[in-house]
């Protein structure tokens, strides 16, 4: 007996892990080992990736608006392999959303939500919502412009709820606006609440799977094929995860996780866009304006979630083969095509461009301070009263008028006592105008 076998049998005698695990590991899978089945395992392994890289990110991260951005910049640019750890976490989040969606589609097509697997489906749907919750709360943490403004918009959505809307927004943000209190509660939810909920729900999901077994292929011939979970299915799971891991490493190197400029609540020209997986909602909101806004913000998403949760209870058709479930297949088809179309529309249409860059606005803001414009003009009620308030004035004027006015105020507004700023360069005039127009 080798030393390794001796150690193994010593533990085996005391813990009996092999005996305990054998029924799970060697359980025959009807339909044999398949890559389609690996997507569920991939979800779990990607979650492990998120937890592992998340813990390491927390080593240098600070959940305070004063330091969060600098800490993330430090991780991204200075810590050894920091870009990789953050990249694995950032791209891992996207991979997890894709993987969860593929898993949901696979389960739907296999009819795996039907009796006796209703609890699997309901817990799975809740797990999907948790993954989206992770994505939403994690987005704010770098505290850059994108994070801040996407959260401002995202947290405004519940505000369209009748009666309780305002209170709901305050509750989510921890106050009236997105602030340090939003960051600390999002951080707590992201690293404590959601992970534990996910562990509990995923545990329940996998425990129930052992009881109800996975759904065999609808083709009876294929269903007769059997293969043990270990090593056949585990081998395929590992191949898939290895490929995904290599892909994540490549993405982290070729397209490092983005980090824009630090969050600036005073810049009003920033066009916030959510991460790609929320594009569908972003695009949907464009279709519902004014009094119908609530349809896009609350009614449709809530209806969709309720319909998903209750699916096993109203789809009583016992057939598993897609051919015998035309209505169900049409529904999933519409959902998938709708999601892809809305995502593509948002990706193609909403590309920022045309508007002034945030850098230009920031430079203009700096010039505004350096030239002491605020000694005569006010913005949001702060500043001098000699000249007109600029947050109201910029609305009335064109860009050309503003530039001409800076150069020669008396020419554009006869009687004005404002000094001439004709010594400013063309770029400086443009930056100052960008800042003025951002105040609209």
């Amino acid at each position: 007996m080798t030393q390794t076998s001796k150690v193994r049998s010593w533990f085996e005698e005391r813990l009996g892990l092999s005996r305990l695990m054998a029924p799970l590991m060697y359980k025959p899978l009807s339909g044999g080992a398949r890559y389609q089945f690996s997507v569920g395992s991939l979800n779990l392994l990607l979650f492990v990736n998120q937890v592992l890289t998340g813990i390491f990110l927390m080593i240098y991260y600070v959940n305070s608006p004063d330091h969060a951005y600098d800490a993330v910049k430090y991780i991204q640019r200075q810590v050894d392999f920091g870009y990789l750890v953050r990249g694995l976490h950032y791209w891992g989040a996207s991979a997890m959303v894709v993987s969860v969606m593929l898993h949901v589609i696979r389960v739907f097509v296999y009819g795996a939500y039907k009796k006796p697997r209703e609890i699997m489906w309901v817990s799975g749907t809740l797990l999907m919502l948790l993954v989206l919750g992770f994505a939403f709360t994690g987005y704010l943490l770098p505290w850059d412009q994108k994070a801040y403004w996407a959260t401002v918009v995202g947290t405004s959505i519940p505000g369209t709820t009748p009666v309780i809307g305002d209170s709901l927004v305050r509750l989510i943000r921890g106050g009236i606006s997105v602030s340090n209190l939003t960051l600390t509660r999002f951080f707590a939810i992201h690293v404590e609440v959601l992970p534990w909920l996910l562990v509990i729900l995923a545990g329940a999901h996998l425990t129930v799977l052992q009881i109800v077994d996975h759904t065999p292929p609808w083709n009876p011939e294929k269903a007769k094929i059997e293969a043990p979970f270990y090593p056949d299915q585990v081998f395929k799971d590992m191949v898939l995860f290895l490929l995904v891991f290599v892909g994540l490493v490549a993405l982290a190197n070729l397209h490092p996780a983005p980090l824009g400029s630090v969050a600036d609540p005073t810049v009003k020209t920033y066009v916030p866009r959510p991460e790609w997986y929320f594009f569908f909602l972003f695009q949907l909101l464009k279709f519902f304006q004014g009094p119908y806004e609530i349809v896009g913000t609350m009614v449709l998403p809530t209806l969709f979630i309720v319909l998903m949760l209750l699916l096993p209870f109203y789809d009583r058709n016992p057939a598993l083969a897609p051919k015998k479930r035309p209505v169900a297949m049409a529904c999933i088809g519409i959902c998938v095509v709708g999601y892809i179309t809305l995502t593509a529309m948002a990706a193609l249409s909403g590309k920022p461009g045309g508007g002034p860059s945030t850098v230009s606005v920031s430079k203009g803001k700096l010039l505004f301070a350096q030239l002491h414009c605020d000694s005569c003009h006010s913005i949001n009620g702060v500043g001098g009263q000699v000249g007109p308030p600029l947050d109201k004035e910029a609305e009335k004027r064109t860009r050309e008028w503003l530039i001409a006015h800076f150069k020669d105020p008396q020419k554009m507004s006869p009687g004005s006592i404002m000094p001439k700023f004709n010594y400013l360069t063309k770029e400086q005039l443009s930056e100052l105008t960008d800042y003025m127009q951002s105040l609209k």
Partner: protein, 170 residues
Amino acid sequence: MTENFSDSRRKFLGYAIAGMGGAVALGYAIPLIQYLVGPAMAPQEDSWSLVCGAQDVPVNDPKSITFVSNVKSGWQTKRVQRDVWVVKKPDGSYTVFSPVCPHLGCAYNWNGQERRFICPCHGSVYTITGKVVAGPAPRPLDTLPVKIENGNIYVKYEKFRLGIPEKVLA
């Protein structure tokens, strides 16, 4: 019908799983360990700091000067109070000594009568050039990078390992 699994196929798959799992585990472990260790082992970085005006130090009369240095600590830059010994040599150049005795880290002083730097802890004695003339100190006083700009003395504060004959950054 159960597929026919030979022992060798099962073994092969087992090794393949272990190989792939090991590769992924190494793929995580190597960068994560370096991520953890790198910043901990990085030397502390002070910026060049204004110490005093060059005219404030008389020739051959060491001055202990306290100044504020910007110290980078991870993502944060802190303002830290430092002190150094500045010596103006007869040729008009300057030497700046770390205030830390290279023996075991005590603060030493200049004795104007004996014209020696003397460490009160274990009795190490140094000349005005930093050379050891008595006591257990294993090396001369540690000099710091110095530059003169616009009539001011700038120093980059550094820390060194103690108790060894070589001057090595801590």
